[in-house]
């Protein structure tokens, strides 16, 4: 999976550079988030700008990140969701769980 990681202030931004975040590749995102958490980063921004499609496995991996961050008293923010992705969050009511921002910059400034 193509992921790009950047540090900005107290946050680590993970750019998911894939068109799909699904059962095939979302395990890689989980591994990367776990690596960051274990390295002491507890405030993550997951940028979904390039993700056109997410399935329930992709959602599950983000939920796992949310729980991991909460346990460590950190935060996980999501940015730049496309239409299908946003509608999957709404359908599963996960849009009430996550802090969702229009852009990475909005997430950083919040």
């Amino acid at each position: 999976m193509n992921l790009k990681t950047e540090t900005s202030g107290g946050s680590v931004i993970v750019f998911v550079k894939e068109e799909r975040l699904d059962a095939h590749n979302s395990g890689d995102l989980k591994t990367e988030m776990n690596r960051l958490f274990e390295g002491g980063s507890i405030n993550l921004i997951i940028d979904l700008k390039e993700v056109r499609f997410i399935d329930s496995s992709g959602l599950g991996v983000l939920v796992s990140g949310f729980k991991n961050a909460s346990t460590r008293h950190g935060t996980i923010k999501l940015s730049a969701m496309q239409t299908q992705v946003k509608s999957m969050f709404e359908l599963t009511r996960l849009h009430r769980v996550f802090d969702i921002y229009a852009t990475v910059d909005d997430a950083l400034e919040s």
Binding site: H24, F53, K67
Partner: protein
């Protein structure tokens, strides 16, 4: 049989083929002249439903045995779309799968697949077929 379209896809039992099937389903939907609704939205719905059903067949039925195969059949007959995903597993009871959206389990990592499928299609049935099982998902194209 007039005006029926049938699409059958056989893929190895591997998640790397999810996007292949999803994309094929999407392009089919985008070309469906007979559907007056939003075809982009239909395409995205079909992509989602195919992906969820295939993942279940791969993970729960065929237990990630990469030598197995999965058959998907899409029928468009008049104004009805039917998607069937066949598996050779032990089967399960669709009616016993709980709704994942109650507050208590909103933070579960799994258990959203069938809920999503049911939300996006008009009818969903899981039954015996061809010596195995089939998840049959239908949607009216009106």
């Amino acid at each position: 049989m007039k005006n029926d379209i049938v699409l059958e896809i056989t893929i190895p039992n591997q998640t790397c083929y999810l996007s292949l099937v999803g994309k094929i389903g999407e392009s089919m939907a985008k070309e469906l002249d007979r559907y007056d609704g939003d075809r982009e939205e239909l395409a995205s719905r079909i992509n989602t439903v195919l992906t969820e059903a295939l993942v279940n067949a791969i993970k729960h039925a065929n237990v990630t045995d990469p030598t197995k195969e999965i058959l998907v059949r899409i029928n468009i007959s008049g104004k009805e779309l039917a998607i069937r995903v066949f598996d050779n597993g032990q089967g399960f009871d669709l009616n016993r799968v709980p709704d994942p959206c109650f507050d208590s389990d909103i933070l579960n990592e799994n258990g959203r697949g069938l809920f999503i499928i049911r939300s996006l299609m008009d009818s969903v049935v899981y039954k015996k077929a061809n010596g195995g099982n089939v998840l049959e998902m239908k949607k009216s194209l009106r």
